[in-house]
Amino acid sequence: MTHWATVTTMTVPKQGAGDAECEDALAVRDSDDAITVAVADGATEGIFSRAWAHALVRAGVACDGSTRLASVVERAHAAFRSAIEPQQAGLPWYAAQKAEEGAFAALLRIRVEAGGQWHAEAVGDVTLLVVRDACLAMSWPMSDAAAFDHRPALVSSLAFASAEAQERSGAWSPGDTLLVATDALAAHLLRQPDAIAQLGTCVRPEWEAFVADARRQGMRNDDVALVRLALRAP
């Protein structure tokens, strides 16, 4: 574990669904000089969305910092094909037809360096929120709660459209908190910035209570994934 960040990860499935049905996925790799985080949100209406989201985040943290998103996705394609191949024989007509259309997920990958820089790439609406002095300093690529909808850009398991990928770099300071959240939570935090303070120190089992409370306040009932990096001076 790195000494300059405290990393917390949390996932909660949709209300009414089990953990095995959660199609949000996250992965973290940390070292003394950098932390890499990948968070993916598998499309509800796709097939094999969970397997695809997990393949993406695993590839996202397995590749080194200089690897571009196109190469990350290529690596995920290979892992995904191996994972689902045994399940494809004998699929009923509806699953066979849908499998031909591929699996889909939104993805955000960020590398945070001990030297004070971060660099992120994203396709879709998984969102990075930077919290400084207990206030939201920036959010990316989504910055408006009203802009979230049911049809974000997504990474397909069949082909990668690099035009969909966005990049952003920035600098962090000791005391900053970086949050990487899937769409429902990100939209909720943008709509109700007060919730960011509650989330700032939240640990299990408070996390599940936080999500339940947010849903009561109108957060969309969707899978939720969050990675929180509380950063200190190296």
Binding site: G16, W93, Y94, A95, Q97, N221
Partner: protein, 286 residues
């Protein structure tokens, strides 16, 4: 906001399909590319439309581990009789007319091999044979008791709402050539549309399968482009599309206004299935 209730397995949407099986449905369909004897019958177009609708409903709910019951479906035929054409294996009386979509998925009448154009993964397309489910074949006999069918739909909708009072309201899709023989369908349509859940009133959508060769019309917002009195009556019977469905229609590039109604004339209504939001949806899935 109305018509915004979550659609989930615990809060599914009821789809009630009303199929005109009257003798006039044996006449040729006017919107076909072929004309004269080569044109398919309206009953054939109706059967293809229903099979495609059911296929789309199921595909929207399909996951690797099965079909999630976001939708329950009733299919009511009206012609010689007004009756449920599918029934759940269990369940008493009218409740058996409402079948979870997973049960439909697992028991089509047959699977037919059909050629489909698909992406080849290299920027082009290729043809592939896919197994296509068929639940209904063409059928046409006797009069058009549309009013009775709308009344039956109202009974089913009310029973559904009693059990699911906070859910997205039932969606009734009436596919017909428009010639009711048992009264004024507008009155029955208004009665049906007056029932509602906490989320909104029953949505009645009409698909006019006509022998007219006038151009197809998809989700119009006024009467002016409609060719005859049957189309105009069906338009008047149809619900305005709610905001959430208009937004989904706009996202697909359709021109909609506040007055846009759930009505299509000699056109494919399958898009209606896509206008209901279940969750994150790849824009490539149609």
């Amino acid at each position: 906001m109305p018509y915004s209730a979550e659609i989930s397995r615990s809060q599914p949407v009821a789809f009630i399909l009303l199929l005109d099986q009257s003798a006039s449905m044996a006449d040729p369909f006017g919107g076909a590319e072929q004309q004269g004897d080569a044109a398919p019958s309206k009953a054939r177009v109706l059967a293809d439309t229903v099979n495609r609708l059911l296929q789309n409903l199921i595909l929207r709910c399909a996951k690797e581990d099965g079909v999630r019951d976001y939708f329950h479906v009733a299919v009511i035929g009206y012609g010689e009789r007004v009756e449920a054409l599918i029934r759940a294996a269990d369940g008493p009386g009218e409740t058996a007319a409402m079948v979870p979509v997973s049960a439909l998925a697992n028991r089509p009448l047959r699977l037919e091999p059909r050629t489909k154009t698909v992406a080849d993964g290299q920027g082009g397309t290729t043809e592939r044979v896919v197994q296509t489910p068929v639940w209904f074949d063409p059928y046409a006999k006797n009069g058009t008791p549309m009013c009775q069918a709308l009344d039956y739909a109202a009974q089913l909708a009310r029973m559904w709402i009693d059990v699911h009072p906070r859910a997205f309201p039932p969606v009734v899709l009436n596919i017909t050539d428009g010639e009711a023989t048992d009264g004024d369908p507008l009155r029955y349509a208004q009665q049906l549309r007056s029932f509602g859940s906490d989320d909104g009133e029953v949505l009645l959508l009409n698909v006019h399968v006509s022998d007219s060769t006038e151009p197809a019309v998809l989700f119009p917002d006024d009467l002016s482009g409609l060719p005859d009195s049957f189309a105009q009556t069906l338009y008047q019977m149809s619900s305005p599309l709610p905001f959430s469905m208009r937004a989904a229609a706009e996202a697909e590039g359709l021109r909609v206004t506040h007055d846009t109604r759930g009505f299509v004339f000699n056109a494919d209504p399958t898009a209606l299935v896509r206008f209901l939001e279940i969750g994150t949806r790849p824009s490539t899935l149609r």
